[in-house]
Symmetry: C2
């Protein structure tokens, strides 16, 4: 579907703030998860707003004309979240990447949505502060994108997700209305929580034009390490026990034997082909006691090796395999491509079972499915690798992918812990939340965006109104 | 305004689940903050649902007939939150006070909305768990009420507010639709965050019929104490500095000299008439180091005495004055009554200034205004005491009350940190959030409750539709 976007010529935008050129349109038709998307995803125009007024003007004019608008930034989404499913305008927010205000005394910073996550950390580092919920992609993805999906990452087990660190927003509704949400106070019970309503809504309710983020003081003690297990069951049971024993760990990441093999191939390292748990401890006091507690629990699960890094360089080396894993998986075998990445999350007591079930399905159907993830959150990333020329294998792969999601939902978990629904997981929305909740979500969507201008074709199941 | 509620006779409710008797209606026309409310607040009927089906049946029937429904529980709200401003049905949820499921391995418990907060803590205590965000009124107020106002309390400085500890809800919309929100996974980015949209909405969007709460492990080290300062400025500056230095404190409460005098009168104690800061430290390691760090900072602000309690009994004694303060203020002088309690919250760097300003206004206008509160959150509770027979004093008192709120808003703070808007703070909603945000809130209200059945006359400014 194409939309007439010539009205953009009449808006108060500079020439370099809009483009109808094929190159720009094509580059905004993709994200990291776009390969499983359908057709008609190329936007008709790209706009680079530089202010809230720009965003407001574009949205008001597009809504008046029934032209879809899809917010875009770094394009690192994994579920086609920022790809314009119905064409229209790609609203590229990367130029709104400034620090608007910084209040280190209050541990707060106001930033534009296009700022890269690690740039926030660099900005505040000299004051001993950091932004704890940054995802692993924090050095390439934007704060606006993280807010869109309520992203989280390795340190979420200790510090929570993005939503926990957003104090307030400035956002623009589809009709151009500018909305301020939240407060600079650390808590408020005044009115509805518009901040949390917008966080995680993937640009379907409003376009975020500024975010007030909370920061944290850097812990005085940081220690990293790695534990190697004989069996995957031992590794997952150890993680589950550690979390349930309330070990104060800041990262606790699972890497299965297959993933380790892939990391070796990619990095030229010689990690053992064994299930591993990567660890990081943050504390101001007593970090050794927490490490000892963790080690004791891991020993109950027959840990084969438990090694802590002596310094930052060693920690960096220990962690390298985990950090590079997504690339290692994607490049492991030229004939195999991953289906879009699994992102299920379950209650921690069910974590050993979801991993065991995934491994069982992989073995039963003779497919390569590396498993890793933010184990402390009950989060499992799994990649089903298939030969895309083998339609039978693709079909089986998709079935297994779906079976793992369904199993996670039966455990009371979620289809997506941190990537959002986008286009890739729409079929699971109602299975996870039930018809009543989906209807309530639709009502909120209709209330804030009655014409369905913002990012249509996302989150809600196909075929509904305002999809 | 009265409403014909005879349809309740036709619903599948037992006789003891509905009442039209004056005694019951009157007892549901009041909460702790009701004295400043207007007329017409007596409900026409009271219903005690015992199941989600009961709630759904009452709401669907009431909505069909245009009869308002106001959820009610312990009646401990301070802003008339649960008082039926437009009559209709008072939906008393106190019978839905059961534990539905308890999963200590996942630190989760599912409870009915009518359960008293401290009953949750008792239920889980044997497993070494607790529910951190309980407000000071946790032994008399219900989980449903806390969710309605997004309550918080003394330990919020370390553990956050109620919203941070609610994983999911079952709730009923005005038309009777039952909605499940959230997940048992500790994080999810699937769909809109209905949980956080409902938490803090004061029963105007949905009636909560079940809540999944997260629990925390009890810290191994808990130490309480008290610091006495020469001046109020010293005390507030010390608190602000301690929080900004990231001292890991679990409670840090201000009590000004006037409040101390009132506590003495009420408790027969002999506290010094001086500004005090009550402290509690939670840690698994290094609690002494944190105490030392705090002491060092307090010494920079000329602390006169810094005493830590040796044991639980001593801690209890030290804390008694703070705990009983609301009662002490209310009973201090038979001729004086407090206006409804102030609940402003500001960024921590502005805390000394808001307290100083409050003290200045009190002195300038010759009024008694005791100041206390959860200083670590930047939260200030102030009670303007007036002789209600002295209309001039009442007028001045209200002006000062309002001036303090306005000052807090100028600092980027909130009119209400934990009590909600209810009826008492409606005039501040737009001043705090702006017209755009209030319009967005109204749209969400209309979307989920188009007939305005649920708790009308709350949150939104007077005179609007669906008020």
């Amino acid at each position: 579907m194409t939309h007439d976007c010539s009205f953009l010529e009449d808006l108060p935008l500079a020439d370099d703030q809009r483009s109808f050129a094929d190159g720009q349109r094509d580059s905004h038709a993709a994200d990291w998860g776009a390969e499983q998307l359908g057709e008609g995803v190329t936007p008709d125009a790209v706009v680079w707003p530089e202010s809230t007024d720009d965003v407001s003007a574009v949205l008001a004019a597009a809504t008046e004309r029934g032209v879809p608008v899809t917010p875009y930034a770094a394009g690192t989404g994994l579920e086609g979240n920022a790809v314009p499913a119905h064409g229209g305008i790609s609203l590229d927010l990367t130029r709104m990447d400034d620090v608007r205000d910084y209040r280190p005394d209050d541990f707060q910073i106001d930033v534009g949505p296009g700022i890269i996550g690690s740039d926030v950390e660099e900005y505040v580092a000299a004051d001993g502060l950091f932004f704890p919920p940054l995802p692993s992609s924090g050095d390439i993805s934007t704060i606006g994108g993280m807010i869109a999906t309520d992203a989280s990452g390795m340190k979420t087990v200790r510090y929570g997700e993005i939503a926990d660190w957003v104090l307030g927003l400035e956002a623009v509704l589809a009709d151009g209305t500018v909305v301020q949400t939240g407060s600079r106070a650390v808590k408020t019970s005044s009115g509805y929580n518009l901040t949390e309503t917008i966080v995680g809504s993937e640009g379907t309710l409003a376009v975020v034009t500024e975010a007030t983020l909370e920061l944290a003081g850097r812990p005085q003690q940081i220690r990293g390490g790695r534990a190697i297990f004989e069996t995957l069951d031992d590794a997952t049971a150890a993680v589950s026990d550690a979390v349930r024993t309330d070990v104060d760990v800041a990262r606790i990441e699972l890497v299965d034997g297959l993933s380790a093999r892939m990391a070796n191939a990619y990095l030229g390292t010689d990690l053992p082909d064994a299930p591993m748990v990567f660890l990081e401890f943050h504390a101001n006091h007593g970090v050794e006691e927490e490490i000892d507690l963790c080690r004791t629990i891991f020993e109950e699960h027959d840990v084969a090796r438990f090694e802590m890094s002596a310094d930052d360089a060693e920690m960096d080396e220990l962690w390298r395999a985990r950090r590079e894993l997504a690339y290692a998986v994607a490049t492991y075998d030229a004939d195999l491509e991953p289906l879009h990445p699994g992102d299920v999350t379950v209650p921690i007591s069910s974590y050993p079972e979801i991993v065991r079930e995934t491994r069982r399905l992989a073995d039963e159907h003779d497919l390569l499915i590396p498993c890793f993830g933010h184990a402390g959150d009950g989060n499992l990333h799994y990649s089903v690798l298939v030969d895309r020329d083998d339609s039978d294998q693709v079909t089986r792969g998709k079935e297994i992918y779906a079976a793992i999601v369904e199993r996670a939902l039966e455990m009371g978990g979620t289809a997506t812990g941190e990537h959002g629904i986008g286009q890739g997981k729409r079929e699971y929305l109602e299975a996870e939340h039930g018809a009543g909740a989906v209807e309530a979500m639709r009502r909120i969507k209709r209330a804030l965006d009655p014409t369905g201008t913002l990012n249509p074709g996302k989150i809600f199941p196909e075929g509904g109104e305002l999809e």
